[in-house]
Amino acid sequence: MRTLAEAALIVAAGALLGLAGNVASPRPAALARPVHSAAESGTGMCAVAGAAPAARAPRIAVEEAKGLCDACKAGFADARGASEFAAGHVTNAVHLPPAGHPDEAVAVAALRAFPLVIVYDGDYTCALADEVAHRLKREGLPDVRVLEGAWPAWVAAGGAGASGFCPACHDPAEAHR
């Protein structure tokens, strides 16, 4: 009985300690904001192992994409999480909120202005960009391609980049979604 009482005390004190630590943390968890799994939100996680892989979307080489970017002839969709987007992204890229997010329609509308949309993610082997490309195709965008080599290849090739949160997630706490 005494051990149980000690355990209850430790859990309660530990939880309070954790909440206090969260306040002091440089990157606290936003307590009032639900955090969905990456699979539910459609961002930030590569794949569910064993699940059917998303069909491979058409690719575009980095050099070709750079030319289209410089000429503003293609829209770029960033499929990564908000914090990765904030750390660095293709200049003028649109950060796609999770499916069903209130700002989703605005983001898709911004991409609809371009005849070609290029989707990229953070990992060359990640199927996330393929999934997002198919999602955009279902939204009716005519030509959606995935950037070969993803963000690392873009950076390595000296592609135009910027940093900062997207307008829809200017609140850094949104990065945790």
């Binding site: 000690e6 969260n22 539910e40």
Partner: protein
């Protein structure tokens, strides 16, 4: 045996302290990792993440110092059982996720499960056999007349 238990206790406590220390600078990232296990409702994930880190910190301090060691061993047993089961169910369901054990991007694998199971065994041993002691008890002959039988030194 007492010395071994004490070393186990300090080792386990140190591991909890290290685990909490690696997560404290980026609690948001741990919340994201926790969400990917899909064990907690999304609205409770941030609070649960903060609580887990705090409990790890408390367990670390208590196990290293030997204070409330039985209670700490009980909580550690429960926490490690949840970790082990959570990891196992995710791996069995084919979910590819980060472990979240010590911050960073360590992937969850069956080796991670094995490590957690080992720590769980240590926590169970501490719960069942007591926290041990680093230094031998003063000789019974010298201390027995002054000590009541119930004067336990644990905790």
């Amino acid at each position: 045996m007492n010395l071994l238990l004490a070393l186990f206790r300090i080792g386990l406590g140190g591991t909890f302290l290290y685990a909490a220390g690696t997560k404290l600078p980026d609690m948001a990232a741990f919340a994201e990792t926790l969400a990917n296990y899909r064990l907690v409702p999304p609205s409770l994930v941030p609070v649960a993440a903060a609580a887990v880190i705090g409990v790890e910190l408390a367990l670390g301090l208590l196990l290293v110092t030997g204070r409330l060691a039985r209670g700490a061993a009980l909580v550690a047993t429960g926490l490690l059982a949840v970790f082990t089961l959570g990891l196992s169910q995710a791996l069995l369901r084919g979910i590819d996720l980060r472990c979240g054990c010590f911050g960073g991007n360590e992937s969850a694998t069956w080796l991670t499960v094995l490590r957690d199971a080992g720590m769980l065994a240590v926590a169970l041993a501490l719960l069942l056999r007591g926290p041990g002691r680093l230094l031998p008890r003063r000789s019974a002959a010298a201390s027995e007349p002054d000590r009541a039988p119930s004067a336990a030194t644990e905790g």
